[in-house]
Amino acid sequence: MKVYCRRKDLYEGVQTVGRVVSGRSTLPILSHVLLQAAEGHLRLVATDFEVGMDIAIPATVDVEGAVTVPARIVGDILGSLPDSEVALSVDENNVVELQCLRSEYTIRGLPAQEFPKLPEVQGGRSVEIEQALLRQLINETSFAVSTDETRALLTGALTVLGDGFIKMVATDTHRLAVSSMPAPGLQVVAEADEAEAGVDSGVIIPARALRELARVLTAEAGEKLQIHITRNQVLFRMEGMSLVSRLIDGQFPNFERVIPKEYQKRLVMNTQELLAALRRASSILPRDSANRVVLRTTEEGLLDITAEAGEVGRAHEQIEVTREGEAVEIAFNVRYMMDMLSITEAESVVIELTGALNPGVVKPVSEEAEGRSYLYVLMPMAIQ
């Protein structure tokens, strides 16, 4: 193999796929990136057996070929080289020579044949949507997944490819984020019933895979991407990149059941004012504490926000609020509120409430396109 490419392209490529490389694997090759040179580009592949990522960067290929190199070491070297052309060549013993201006490194690689193959994804359901929409879906939900490894089911987002829409749902049992985008053109490969079984009601994609994907998605309109779901895998494919992930096996909780169907009180606030007030108030709460803020409406049309930490002190903030229904007194985990508010682009948000111990629904106030919806169900904390 002998190829030439831009240092920046190669560095960013190695960094991007390198994130799925497993940190401490018993299998040395899983800490490597596969380099494959053919037809005017260099492919970079990494996997930890759960998530696999494959990207292509432009390259001049003198001699086709393939090898694997340790991701971290090569990333470190590339990160500190000047921006110029990089030449890569491999000898028959898988020793890689990396040359850039006057820097020259030889790195022991491993044979490309030993690198695990990424799974083929066939049959099932697929749809093509705008990258920007998928990016938004992921941003609006992935923060709400559980970080508790003992509840593997909840460490992923339920993803439904429906007729004309795509929906993502995430919950850690304290809060629930449900986001839906229009996605016309669903294709179902009918004959592959085995691959299709159960896929219609949604599959659970590990949040890790979604976060890695979101990093490479563009926010600009016009760029498309294909989603392909089977019973065991999901494949995201776009120009120069594909990401495949195993799915989390199991039954996602019945989330529809916990979305309140009605409300008794309604608060409308400016998103940034609320977020800023919560952020300030939260600074008084020690890390690892309960993170509780109490929201109370006043007679003067204000919302009192208080946070208390025994040893530190007390925070009191007020913002303007438009209220329907009776006075409100309710406590929430401030981090959970901030998580949602910080990804909301709408100028105002509405919180719909029933009682102090019933779930509240937070929604952006915006004109919604057909098939588009977003809501965040938030369970309160007990006011003692």
Binding site: D148, T150, T171, T173, H174, D288, A290, A331, A382
Partner: protein, 390 residues
């Protein structure tokens, strides 16, 4: 202003409790500890047994040779802990500044209580009287201006002793005591001091501090201060523990998974009860495991919310345990909860599980029952066979 510190030390605690529970044992040499078969050691010996040369930490086999007529009893830790709680409750009646040193001794700072209950001596007598009348046990008490002197004093006239060291008699009190009585002086330091010709605390006090520093470094200065009866360590009520844990070493190494998991449950339950007693809850659960060959490992996991319930602690400890590759028998298991926060967890309600504090209420009820009637009053069915764990 001079402080008034008490050191309360229960006399032959385990043995005295056994004699109280079984009056026919009164006046007899009672030895509590591990069995000879288990290569056990003596945990406590009654004063009658001590006359035969039996003392704690001695191998039980040796104690049996010294005192063949002795009544040898197994340790009943749950009973002793329950009595210990009753003792501490009496002590806390006189001051909130109670620092338990172990199951059967504690420091008290009663400086602020003197206007309520009288001077240190009066408080000491009141404590001794209550322990005698309410618990049918005896305690020895030292009263002094600091912890070091109070502990020395309580030890001088056991059992049922009361020694008061007034601030103006500290020097006289210490003068003729052997250097081994100084806090931190073990056999090695004692030898070094002997080489300097220092055998009594009075001689250490008279020795220039520079000489001690030269021979013993910083420790020498500390010794000099102690020899002068100076010790400004405060009495610290143990409310600010960083972690709460419990571990147990088996009499025989165990390989059986079911047995080991049962031990984990018992440990989790005990740790949970202690968390509740201290009014704290914790977020990080650590499993400690020592194999027969003494290789020791710990595994920890943090929860999203703090807990003080065995029902939460046990499954995590068990999962950590199951994730360990076990190819040898296990010698020791331990469960610790850290990352503690005071109070009950500020409850984050759950979307899918309706608000249910029945488990907390159940745990509190069980705690209250055990406090009153002893740990055996309520048991998990799985733990009814407790003989594997003490």
């Amino acid at each position: 202003m001079a402080r008034t510190i008490l050191h309360v030390d229960m006399d032959a605690f385990y043995a005295a409790i056994e004699q109280r529970e079984r009056p026919e044992l009164r006046g007899k040499p009672v030895i509590v500890g591990g069995s000879v078969e288990d290569r056990g050691v003596v945990s406590a010996a009654s004063y009658e047994a001590r006359r035969f040369g039996v003392h704690s930490a001695q191998p039980t086999a040796q104690a049996r040779r010294l005192c063949p007529e002795g009544v040898f009893l197994p340790v009943r830790p749950h009973l002793y802990r329950q009595v210990s709680r009753q003792v501490m409750a009496i002590l806390r009646h006189y001051t909130p500044l109670v620092e338990p040193l172990s199951i059967d001794e504690a420091f008290l700072d009663v400086t602020g209580s003197r206007s309520l209950f009288g001077d240190g001596e009066a408080i000491a007598r009141a404590i001794q009287a209550r322990i005698r009348s309410e618990l049918q046990l005896t305690a020895s008490v030292g009263v002094a201006p600091n912890k070091f002197l109070a502990k020395l004093a309580s030890d001088l006239r056991k059992p049922n002793g009361l020694v008061v060291v007034p601030p103006d008699q500290v020097a006289a009190f210490l003068r003729d005591l052997p250097v081994s009585r100084l806090w931190g002086v073990g056999p090695a330091t004692e030898r070094q001091l002997t080489r300097l010709g220092l055998r009594t605390i009075g001689e250490v006090a008279a020795c220039p501090v520079a000489v001690l520093r030269l021979r013993l470094g910083a420790a020498g200065e500390a010794l000099h201060r102690l020899a002068h009866g100076e010790d400004d360590r405060p009495v610290e009520p143990d409310t600010e523990a960083k972690s709460i844990g419990r571990e147990t070493t088996f009499a025989e190494d165990i390989g059986n998974t079911a047995t080991l998991e049962r031990v984990l449950l018992a440990l989790a339950e005990e740790v949970a009860a202690r968390l509740r007693r201290k009014g704290v809850c914790g977020r990080t659960i650590t499993l400690k495991l020592r194999f027969a060959d003494f290789t020791t490992l710990t595994r920890a996991r943090s929860l999203s919310e703090p807990t003080a319930l065995a029902e939460t602690i046990y499954p995590v400890a068990r999962d950590l345990f199951r994730a360990v590759e076990r190819d040898r028998k296990v010698r020791l298991l331990g469960v610790t909860v850290s990352n503690l926060t005071p109070g009950r967890p500020a409850r984050q309600l759950n979307l899918f599980v309706p608000l249910d504090d029945r488990r907390e209420r159940l745990a509190e009820t069980v705690d209250a029952l055990r406090e009153r009637f002893g740990d055996a009053i309520v048991q998990r069915a799985r733990l009814l066979r407790r003989d594997h764990f003490r």
